[in-house]
């Protein structure tokens, strides 16, 4: 069997979560796509270093984290806006927990997020739909809804916090709470 065929299975299984991880840390969609491609190429070149006793997802996220830091140094933070270096580890651990959401595929895991949308208030749901589905900036949402920029930000931030809590409630009971809960801030 061609090693590429084997690698393809891993790429297909982990591409969704890896891309979400990159999208959470890097603003520019083009940079996300470049990092996505580069991460799997580096993984392919270094496959002999992968410890098969460990899950593949955290290993590729580790590669992605190093690449993000390299890009950040190369391009400068002003141009592409990356997540702060010290936050990437926390983010990686949080995604590790998201990996345990119910569902075999990334799409099925996203079903949990879709279902959690019903737990939001109307204003939160509307702000999230306008921002993520229709691509509107906070200022544009504020104009459309006739509310302040700050109110839009609050709706988005509270909505995202509610979605996080809801998804956490779907995790298996033996999964440790995310570091985001350890301070009891939500």
């Amino acid at each position: 069997m061609d090693p590429r065929d084997l690698f393809e299975i891993l790429v297909r299984e982990h591409s969704g979560m890896l891309r979400a991880f990159l999208l959470s840390a890097v603003r520019d969609p083009g940079t996300v796509e470049d990092l996505f491609q580069e991460t799997f190429l580096v993984a392919w070149r270094n496959l002999h270093r992968y410890d098969r006793q460990l899950p593949f997802g955290p290993w590729v996220r580790g590669i992605a984290t190093k690449l993000m830091l390299n890009w950040r140094r190369r391009l400068g933070r002003q141009k592409v806006t990356f997540c702060a270096e010290q936050d990437l580890q926390l983010l990686d651990r949080t995604f590790e927990r998201m990996q345990t959401l119910p569902g075999d595929t990334f799409d099925e895991k996203l079903d949990v997020l879709r279902a959690c949308m019903t737990s939001l208030t109307g204003a939160q749901r509307e702000a999230i739909a306008l921002h993520y589905e229709h691509g509107l900036h906070c200022k544009e949402i504020a104009e459309r809804l006739g509310i302040s920029f700050e109110a839009v930000k609050k709706h988005l931030q509270r909505g995202r916090a509610a979605l996080f809590r809801c998804m956490q409630g779907s995790l298996p009971p033996d999964v440790l709470p995310s570091p985001a809960w350890q301070g009891g801030m939500s």
Partner: protein
Amino acid sequence: MTIERPEDRFGDRDETLADGPVEPAPDAARPWLTEQRCVHGLLRALHTADAAAREARVQAVLAKIAAPRYRVLARLPGLAAAAALVALGVYLAWPDPDRLPRAEAMVSRALHALEEPIDRDFTLHVDVERGERHIEREWAITIRPGRRFLVEGESPFGRFRAGCDGELVWFQPMPGIRGMDVPLAEARRLTERFGEVLDLGYLDLDALLRRLPQDTELRCVGREGPGIRVEAIGTVNLPHLALRSISMLVDDRSGMLSEVRAVATGAGRSGEVEARLFYRHVGDRELGEGAYERPW
């Protein structure tokens, strides 16, 4: 008593909603910012999760690891064994260097090449059969990512220009006059007025390529010089024409489309119309996005 929520304390440190970099976050803000970022990434993924783009991404990775630079790495000691471990002990065979690449991977490479922010020049030869009549046209097509394209050619009125800047489709029947324009979503209103064989569906090469893996069965049929011939078996239905017998030559080194041939059929005003399309890549330029805007 007012309870201060995390977003009240740390909302300004949330980069995901800021226009640019923000002040470094204090340690106390990090857990909250992490959960915000995590959901932000999942929501972005949720709303950009179309199957075609996902498949193109995977194919782009596979095409790159098939390139010689990466294939050499598969011969490094240890990697074959490690890959075998990943595959739970399945035996690994060397890739055959003469084997044709996967057709989906070639289409994916062509898409990737078209995504580069430069301007690609093609000639488009259109050979129309309408009953007993036979008409030939040749247009110069320039395309750029973001659904931008320019078309230039001769019409009964002189040299016409048409284009799309990603939002607006415009048509100028001759230089120096004010033409017509419509939003991209309503382009059919405009194209229907200019012959029976003009269809945005094939002028937007990027969108056309994205549809091929879903709408057709792809296969690589052989090498032609530096290119690989890919055929799409099936029909792609465009706004008012149907494309079939699509055949592409993709440069094996650059991934660029060297040529595209297809047969377009549809119902014209005076009966069935059939057009043979032949795209040929003639070069690249750096025009910039402004070149695609309406000239008046």
